[in-house]
């Protein structure tokens, strides 16, 4: 009897858990939909902006903006790492932290510092005593334009004031709800956006190329950070949805198995009782 009661309790507890994971799956699905449409609808602008920059960088004799300038000697590197604030999102944080660790392995501790978005990355790397320049917690999938500007300005300022000599962004690119890809990109200097070899387009510039760069580059930088955040938010929700849906499925299986065991136990208990009664009756007759 003891075992039977134990199993009944387990079934109830698994059922409760299943209800929670199901609810979380639904919430994640709703958020994913929003985040996905946001990231997909803002991609065209980002691509066009990048193309524009590429075309511009091909122009000969451009007096280059300091953001383009590659530092001859790299003394300090900065990694802008985007993780999530909440857990229960499958391998999302594990994947990106693993990637970050293998990136950090190439540097000595005083040669690199981190800016982390999201609690998970911050907690992990603080415990390991990596230098954390700045942290952004509690974004929860929303980012105000003023916050975005302050993030970007911080990165640009660190780069221009020569406190850091390169900036990398590590984020999770959203491909579809079940697939995402951890992506490492060099953010500053912007040299990588320069395309050599291709023929220069003879543009007319109005007012002049320097002024265009002055307006374009801050916009480009903000957009790049914004896109990385949007991609990560969408990936996080996608990953959480998948994780929760498989958790729900697992709970379902577990309940089935437990129910089967329960029924078997119940059956055998009944049989045992019947036997006892029958043998008792036999004894009385005797």
């Amino acid at each position: 009897m003891q075992a039977l009661r134990e199993i009944r309790r387990r079934i109830r507890s698994v059922q409760n858990t299943q209800q929670i994971t199901k609810a979380m799956e639904m919430v994640a699905a709703a958020r994913l939909k929003k985040a996905q449409s946001k990231v997909e609808s803002s991609r065209p602008y980002a691509n066009k902006l990048q193309n524009l920059l590429k075309n511009l960088s091909r122009v000969k004799g451009v007096a280059f903006h300091p953001l383009f300038q590659k530092k001859e000697q790299v003394k300090k590197t900065l990694l802008f790492l985007i993780t999530s604030d909440r857990g229960l999102c499958g391998p999302f944080n594990t994947n990106i932290i693993k990637e970050a660790e293998s990136f950090l392995k190439n540097y000595e501790k005083n040669k690199i510092s981190l800016i982390t978005v999201g609690k998970k990355g911050f907690n992990f790397f603080r415990k390991k005593h990596w230098e954390i320049e700045q942290k952004y917690l509690g974004l929860e999938g929303r980012v105000e334009i003023s916050q975005l500007k302050s993030m970007t300005n911080l990165l640009i300022e660190l780069f221009l004031s020569k406190k850091v000599d390169e900036v990398y962004i590590l984020y999770t690119k959203f491909i579809n709800p079940v697939t995402s890809e951890v992506t490492l990109e060099k953010f500053l200097d912007i040299e990588s956006e320069k395309e050599e070899g291709k023929e220069e387009i003879k543009y007319i510039f109005e007012p002049n190329i320097d002024k265009i760069f002055k307006v374009l580059l801050p916009k480009y930088c903000i957009n790049k950070i914004q896109m990385a955040l949007f991609e990560s938010f969408a990936s996080e929700h996608g990953s959480r949805m998948t994780a929760m849906s498989s958790a729900t499925k697992n709970a379902e299986e577990m309940i089935e198995e437990l129910t089967l065991t329960r029924n078997k136990l119940r059956q055998s208990a009944i049989t045992k009782e019947m036997l006892e009664i029958a043998s008792g009756a036999e004894a009385l007759k005797g």
């Binding site: 609808s41 065209p44 075309n55 007319i204 109005e206 007012p207 307006v215």
Partner: protein, 136 residues
């Protein structure tokens, strides 16, 4: 005829075939016709006019961005843009009041270039909206 695509940070705003456009360049309004030479310019708040193949005019309030002309393909990267009919006049008026108040206050923390840019954007919307009302 050439192709005009207008994108904003949020979405692809419009893609259409046009005969000509007039855009508010930073050095003054400029017109683009078919087979225009490659051009890149910054845009300031102003009115964007596009004429389709029947010379039907469509007007938009644009609040800055970039314009690129390359091989009969015009791309406008707009900070924000609304068609004439969709201007939210109340919101523009409120934004104007807010920005003016900020400029008047003696608080040293005020970002003056940003506030005056907000004034320009709001005034642009109001001006374009008024011209639209008058025409009706």
């Amino acid at each position: 005829m050439f192709k005009l695509s207008i994108v904003t940070p949020e979405k692809i705003f419009k893609e259409l075939e046009v005969n000509s456009i007039i855009a508010p360049g930073s050095e003054g309004y400029l017109g683009v016709l078919t087979n225009h030479a490659p051009l890149i310019t910054t845009l300031v708040p102003g009115k964007l006019t596009a004429k389709d193949k029947n010379n039907q005019e469509k007007n938009y309030a644009i609040s800055g961005g970039f314009l690129e002309v390359y091989k009969n393909q015009v791309t406008i990267l707009a900070d924000s843009i609304e068609s004439l009919e969709n201007i939210d006049i109340e919101r523009a008026q409120k934004a104007l009041d807010r920005a003016k108040k900020r400029l008047k206050s003696k608080d040293p923390g005020i970002d003056i270039p940003r506030a005056s840019a907000a004034v320009r954007r709001a005034l642009n919307r109001i001006k374009i909206y008024d011209s639209y009302i008058k025409r009706m």
